[in-house]
């Protein structure tokens, strides 16, 4: 594994986390804390976790990137379905976010070593397990399917 591979994998994971933070922010606004309490709690917890992972990735990349290069930033906006007013719609989008996260962290595992890889293994596992909470089916190889 090379340093460019490592940076590339981390940048892709950061792009995925920017999207995740954005999307969960939107999903939170579409979810009722009273009538969809369980879903709301899951979305809120996911938002918090992805924000932490985004910040960690930024820190990692700041340490790795040569002077003059920056961690990728968020897009101005992200495509989402027009209708997000149901539990099924919110859960479906959340499953997509977690699947993308698992894939991104599987790539980070392959491109890194040491504590960063250990962290990525945990992030991959978290995404796989969190996806179950939104209705994903268990897989033989999360992040690699």
């Amino acid at each position: 594994m090379s340093a460019p591979d490592q940076v590339s994998a981390l940048q892709q994971a950061l792009a995925a986390e920017h999207a995740a933070v954005y999307v969960y922010g939107v999903l939170g606004g579409q979810t009722s804390a009273s009538s969809q309490a369980r879903l709301y709690a899951a979305v809120d917890a996911a938002f918090t976790q992805h924000r932490l992972r985004r910040d960690r990735l930024v820190d990692l990349l700041v340490d790795l990137l040569p002077e003059g290069q920056q961690p990728v930033g968020p897009e101005a906006g992200y495509d989402l379905p027009d209708q997000l007013g149901t539990t099924a719609a919110v859960s479906s989008v959340a499953r997509g976010v977690e699947a993308a996260s698992a894939t991104a962290y599987a790539a980070v595992v392959a491109a890194t070593q040491g504590t960063t890889r250990t962290w990525a293994v945990t992030a991959l596992t978290d995404a796989a397990v969190r996806g179950l909470g939104f209705g994903s089916e268990p897989e033989q190889l999360p992040g690699l399917g």
Binding site: A15, V109, T118
Partner: protein, 169 residues
């Protein structure tokens, strides 16, 4: 709850929600990590495997033994309430053993004495322990693809542990 960011424009989810899910193929060939079992007596002198290759082979052997041990324990469960979960677990472990074995075999070695039927908590403990071992092995693997495969297997077992806890289904 976090504030909802404004949708100032609607652009594609760059490499995220839809794009990244199709990126990685699962085909890690563990045979690539294994040195030939025997050397030809008439051929050139054999080259000693790299230290990391030797370490990875030992790692795979340890992981295979751990999966096979837990698989045997889980397969001994007799509680009808666990049958769906244990069937899924045995199937998962067989699939993982097939991916890790040099010949694609998923048949675990026979246990000398059949284990006592485990209850739900014992199955969960065994699977949690296996999940931790797979995660640790992923961190130690010298080969990047092996690390990725072991990490993904760890995540798969973690999903089953979550199902055993009954918190998501």
């Amino acid at each position: 709850m976090p504030p909802t960011p404004p949708l100032t424009s609607r652009r594609a989810l760059v490499g995220a929600v839809s794009g990244l899910t199709l990126a990685v193929a699962a085909g890690c060939d563990v045979d690539d990590l294994r040195a030939p079992a025997t050397a030809s007596s008439t051929g050139p002198a054999t080259t000693a495997p790299e230290p990391s290759e030797e370490a990875d082979r030992a790692l795979v052997d340890d992981v295979v033994a751990a999966i096979a041990g837990v698989r045997t324990q889980v397969a001994a469960a007799t509680d009808p309430a666990l049958s769906t979960l244990t069937t899924s677990l045995v199937s998962l472990h067989d699939a993982h053993l097939g991916m890790l074995s040099s010949d694609g075999s998923s048949t675990p070695s026979a246990s000398a004495t059949p284990p006592a039927p485990p209850d739900r908590a014992q199955v969960r403990r065994a699977e949690s322990g296996l999940q931790g071992r797979l995660a640790t092995a992923a961190g130690r693997a010298g080969n990047a693809e092996l690390a990725q495969l072991l990490a993904s297997m760890s995540a798969a077992v973690a999903q089953q542990v979550e199902l055993l806890a009954g918190s998501v289904r």
